[in-house]
Amino acid sequence: MICRPPPPVTRRQALLGSLCAAGAGALRPAPSRAAIAAAPFQEVASGIFVRRGLDEDVTATNDDAIANIGFVIGKDAVAVIDPGGSLRDGQRLRAHISSVTRTPIRYVVMTHVHPDHIFGAGAFHHDHPQFVGHRKLPQAMAARGEYYTRRLEETLGNGRAGPIVVPTRLVQSEDDIDLGGGRVLHLRAHALAHSDCDLTVLDRQTATLFAGDLLFVERVPSLDGSLRGWLTELNSLKNEAAQRAVPGHGPVSVKWPQGSLDLERYLDGLLRETRQALKKGIDIEAAVTTVGQSERARWRLFDDYQGHNVTQAFKELEWEQ
């Protein structure tokens, strides 16, 4: 690949330019929208299909299809694991499932409350599935649903977000979903980490872990729970009997647990540098522009989320001192 300094047209182009300059070990180019549209779902393991989300934020034209979403086919039932970022995103997922299998959709798992993962749930109402979520998901939906709907509709247009679908089956700590034919999905409700309602799904049959947003690859993580908690939960996830993981954002599948290394380095650095800033008496306004900047070239959308992540880390860690 030939790297030339790009014309400074957009920040993203400028960012990709700097990635080129960073050389080996830097990000691969993001797959184009056309490439993702052409091969929307990939079979990452037998009977497990995942659609890669765009490395973008929601725009008027992308239907908030920015998270990795997928489904697992068993002998008797299909489980959707994250229904998508908008009603339209969910409808496309449902159409795709129908094109692959006639097995009924009996479960829609929502890995956490963030809009890019849950607003497609309304597309599955007619299937009468169980809507599965963390025990804290209903409370998080109550607290944020109206705000998320309003903000999503500001971008997508009125009525185009989709309904908030409250889970009908709550996971207290662990649970199993039997899809038939020996395929049992093992669900785990996590403590405060990426968010306050993270749920992960392990398919033991293929040793595939749906990590939800406890795993970001290539796209910069977003922290909305607890930095220390996330590191703890990530560490425990590494002990899952999985050979591969499906991240909430990034490639449809990565080797496990090796695929957690970049995220761990990022979170460790955020923890270390935020603590250092607090120790030096640096205030939050300054910390958001200085902490973790060495990670810039390694993540897409870094500038869109770094200040947010430092803010979250700062408010958590300032009580340690």
Binding site: Q139, Y147, I284, H308
Partner: protein, 282 residues
């Protein structure tokens, strides 16, 4: 030393609290444009005109220029925590200051009144920002003149949300306080301090989607800071302050002594804590 919690015998309603409650109703009645970021400047100006009329009863608002400056990030990095700095560089002493977040459900976020022990030259706090909004700071000088400064904030993107939480975890350390002195003590010289209070400052406007009941709000209504018995500031506040409020203020210690903080919340619980200010070499 030590934090004391007690339940007050009867709620004491303050005039400002009534104003805030009326404002919240009034703000809810104002139509919020679909796609708030597209709302026109004219609509924003009309909203501010109505709000300032309700709060200041038609008193003239002068350009803040040399009296009050307002600093906030142009885009909120986190909807639940937007740092705001107020500076009062002028020579005419400021008696009190109002912070108004025009598009928030309850726009009057804070009203600080400075006392004789204050160094009323700067304040910092953290607020929630629900939408694309103008932020106004209105300072009142001792002669009763009002000065206004404003800035525009774009709402945050991504997954952040202004909501607080009312769950057990958020209530665990409620009332815990920390105070950090940001410089060395020198008798008679202004000193900055950062006050941190553990409190969910839960905004309440959240329907439980299973029970269809609204969870009641729980937030800090007032904070009084005194130094050796003399007032540093009195704050009337609201649901627009972030969870775990953090306030940076100035005071003028004449000798070593104690800062006492008394916070009162909407559940009529009072939290107080005293902090030693060590004298020179102390």
């Amino acid at each position: 030393m030590g934090t004391v919690m007690r339940r007050a015998r009867a709620p004491r309603l303050r005039a400002l609290w009534l104003i805030a409650a009326v404002l919240a109703l009034f703000a809810a009645a104002l139509p919020r444009a679909a796609g708030a970021q597209q709302e026109s400047d004219a609509a924003r100006a009309a909203r501010w005109k109505a709000l300032s009329q309700a709060i200041f009863q038609g008193r003239a608002l002068h350009d803040g220029g040399g009296v009050v400056q307002l600093d906030a990030p142009p885009r909120a990095l986190d909807a639940a925590l937007v740092p705001v700095t107020l500076d009062f560089p002028g020579s005419s002493p400021v008696k009190s200051v109002y912070l108004i977040i025009d598009e928030n459900p309850s726009p009057l976020a804070a009203h600080f009144t400075f006392g004789p022990k204050a160094d009323a030259r700067s304040l910092k706090m953290r607020v929630r920002v629900d939408a694309y909004t103008n932020l106004h700071a209105v300072a009142e000088t001792r002669d009763g003149t009002l000065y206004s400064a404003s800035t525009f904030i774009k709402a945050s993107g991504g997954c952040s949300a202004p909501a607080g939480s009312d769950d057990a975890e958020a209530l665990k350390d409620i009332g815990l306080m920390k105070l950090r002195l940001l410089g060395p003590f020198a008798a008679g010289k202004p000193l900055q301090a950062q006050l941190m209070i553990r409190h969910p400052n839960f905004n309440g406007m959240q329907m439980n989607q299973l029970t269809r009941f609204y969870t009641p709000a729980r937030f800090i209504r007032t904070i009084d800071a005194t130094y050796e018995g003399g007032t540093v500031f009195h704050l009337d506040s609201d649901i627009s302050l972030s969870t775990d409020p953090v306030i940076t203020f100035g005071f003028v210690p004449q000798q070593k002594g104690q800062i006492k903080i008394v916070a009162h919340d909407s559940s009529n619980v009072t939290f107080d804590h005293s902090f030693d200010v060590p004298g020179a070499g102390g």
